[in-house]
Amino acid sequence: MANYFSKIFGASPVGPIQEHMELCYEAAKELITFFDYVAQSDWDKVQDSRARIVQLENEADEIKKQVRSNLPKSMFMPVAREDLLELVLVQDRIPNRARDVSGLVIGRKMEIPVAMHDPFLKFVSRNVDAAKKARKTIRELDELYETGFRGAEAELVESLVDELDQIENDTDDMQAGLRAQLYAMEEDLPPIDVMFLYRVIEVMGDIGDMAERIGRRLEVMMAH
């Protein structure tokens, strides 16, 4: 027997959004392993790592669809529906970028110049830090709902978003440094490889950008 009173409660999007973010972070984190093996030119292991990223990306996609289908227009929520949809979309770009960048590298069996190994791996790891901080803020989402996006909990999230911005600034600086380093080495490398290296750096840096945008979305929600 159907009961209408219980049906007025829609499925809360909080759990699935948090679950989605966990997968997004896992996919980003896998890039550290991925580029470690790329640096060692261990292509079998690189392939395995890439498979894990693709797998995580697929799982994240499923949850993204589930969140979207649970947010019909008739839902009355404490935050704007558009903000939630945008949040999931931005989160979802993290595993997408992880898949893109790993695809680029595998497709051309790209070698990262030895001189760039160290700064590049640090750059990857800092972008993953940004994704991790974004996950930490998303882990506060249920508590934000509990408090109606106000007060001490909101201030805590604000401070997490500030830390997230700081990390993203680091990734921007590192990205500029890598570009400068690559520019100085350009002459000695095959031009097409150089083109693609620029592209890899750019797509990798997107992960930090997306993490920062997760923070922006939360700020918008708290500003309502």
Partner: protein, 416 residues
Amino acid sequence: MELMYVYIGLAALFGLFMAWGIGANDLANAMATSIGSGALTIKQALLVAAVFEFAGAVLAGGEVTSTIRKGMIDTATLVDQPDTLIFGMLAALLAAGVWLLIASRKGWPVSTTHSIVGAIVGFAVVGVGADAVQWAKVGTIAASWVVSPLIAGIIAYFTFTSIKWLILIRPDPLVRARRYAPMYIFIAVFLIVLMTLFKGLKHVGLELDTASCYAVAFCFALLIAIVGRWFIARIPIDEKANRRFHFYTVEKVFAVLMVITACSMAFAHGSNDVANAIGPVAAVISIAQEGVVGQQSAVSIWILILGGLGIVAGLATYGRKVIATVGSHITQLTPSRGFSAEVAAAFTIVFASSTGMPVSTTHTLVGAVLGVGMAKGISAINLGIVGRIFLSWVITIPAGAILAIIFFYILRAVLG
């Protein structure tokens, strides 16, 4: 009145049938919130419901019973034909009971209040004449169906907002929850007891003056608040489930409050909905016994007890399953939210009962839930379903009326 015992027997039977239906189905909405939030187990909820439904029916159900019994029809036109009123009331009972059964089977959102009012008005218009209906009173009742969810919504909004500002958004919500929770208990119990004392106790033969009412309500509320405080102080901090702000434990504090509101909800439901089943029974019995229409004697307490028993029977046989199902679907309503919604709904319903207004428990509760939603308390409310619940009375009133008219003619043909 040679058929007196037949009439009384039929009235009691139909009344029990409808009370059983209310207990089996409608009551779930009032109780499930407390189960969904984990404040009560099913067994505890059944016990609370049985005791407080019964208490609500007996202590605070009299005014609404009077309204249903003799408030909507001008009995002056029926002085010469007591049989017509008896057939009408029996038909109304049967119509509302059958409609409730059909709607429950089909999963339609219906209100028992709306179906019984529709049924009585329907039979009166066709069986007696449109002039016999007290349209002013019926209009007031219809208005109360709009006003009651609105008032409950506003109270729920401010209750939840106060919880947010006093407790949830602070850096030390747990300390504050333990401090303020007994205050919420006191206010909730004080208001509900006060309203009951002002209007209700006439039927159990106890009359108190205004000062005594305040004094009794104050002492009672203080006692419950102290007991509540004792329980709240003993809630351990669950370190593993907690993060910085201890919201998990804060909600455990509100779970204690939800026990109080569960009792209040059952009491409110008993005070209002029992009358729906028992009002027509009371009408039939008094006419059949005395052979006259329009006497002014008060509702007999035994009839209220009959209604209470019927609801508890419905709860025991079928309501258990429904409550479990509904409860498992409303986990979103955590104790801080559930408390706000239930206390607002219970207050509104008991107030309506004390003024004799038959309102819908479910509609009032839905209004309260929306109020909490407006205060950003609930992560997702399906407005489509809310609209359908409120629109249901557009179908329920004519359905109750048409069924009542059909049953009226059948009963008159068979018994008259």
